[in-house]
Symmetry: C2
Subunit: 144 residues, 2 copies
Amino acid sequence: MLSRKAQYAFRALTLLVDKYDQGPVLISDIATKKKIPIKFLENILLGLRKADILESKKGKGGGYYIKDHPSKTTVAAIIRIVDGPIALLPCVSLNFYEKCKNCDQRNCGLHEIMESVRDATLGVLENRTLEDLRTGKETLAKKG
Amino acid sequence: MLSRKAQYAFRALTLLVDKYDQGPVLISDIATKKKIPIKFLENILLGLRKADILESKKGKGGGYYIKDHPSKTTVAAIIRIVDGPIALLPCVSLNFYEKCKNCDQRNCGLHEIMESVRDATLGVLENRTLEDLRTGKETLAKKG
DNA sequence: TTTCAACTCTAGTTTTTTAATTGACAAAAG
DNA sequence: CTTTTGTCAATTAAAAAACTAGAGTTGAAA
């Protein structure tokens, strides 16, 4: 399951996508409209900015906005930044790999299963972007 | 990510599959061979028994064993018993559904994405069984 | 029918992780 | 130079996960 933090992140990003190209949005506005604890949201947005997903401006007229075109940022990237690994086990994670103890990978049926799950999951998440979070597009056809 | 509890469960089940049709296996044997804290393992196995995956015998010569043929029990079923929902959000879970607050499902791009992830994941997990955990079968062709 | 070997079960405790908060700081605009 | 806004590190609080304790129950066999 995604953490609450990740869910907050997606809610915030949904708003930012809807306001894409309309200038910075205040953290406080996002927090109020999306009902997210403001200081927690600060941390989340900061993380996304450091990961080059968002940019920010300080002072009057400042706020956060999406850096690149929404279609350039995948949902997989967001999850990795906010929650970490997407795979179900560290030993099959592409970005957060850790060798598993007590399991000979060459002789572990679970390993192959979890690799398949990872690939199936990434097949979706790497092909969905912030663009797909836009509201008011519910009539669009679903992707493969 | 799967919890450590789920990983323990799979390690225990791997041993039980290898000993399928060879009579009950002691909890203490599983704990020792698979390096799992015994009291924790007790709880896990008990849960699997109550969910009709395992059966047990008390007294001398007792222990745990897999109830039905290993090919009858899916990996998805195990995860649900031990860890709960497989989906990334409660609002797209088939077995642990919960309505999401602050999100109109008809107008939520994330919802459709998470449904697709769920379907892709289940496409694998519902088609893998305890049989696939057997060790010493690494040369078998992978399933679709 | 007693004993012992196992699983059963509830209720804890401890540890770790997640969620949320605090408050001082830095930068940009006007 | 003052206000507005994001930055950041540290801390606390809450929740979940991991693990433990110990009495209870059942079954097999002596």
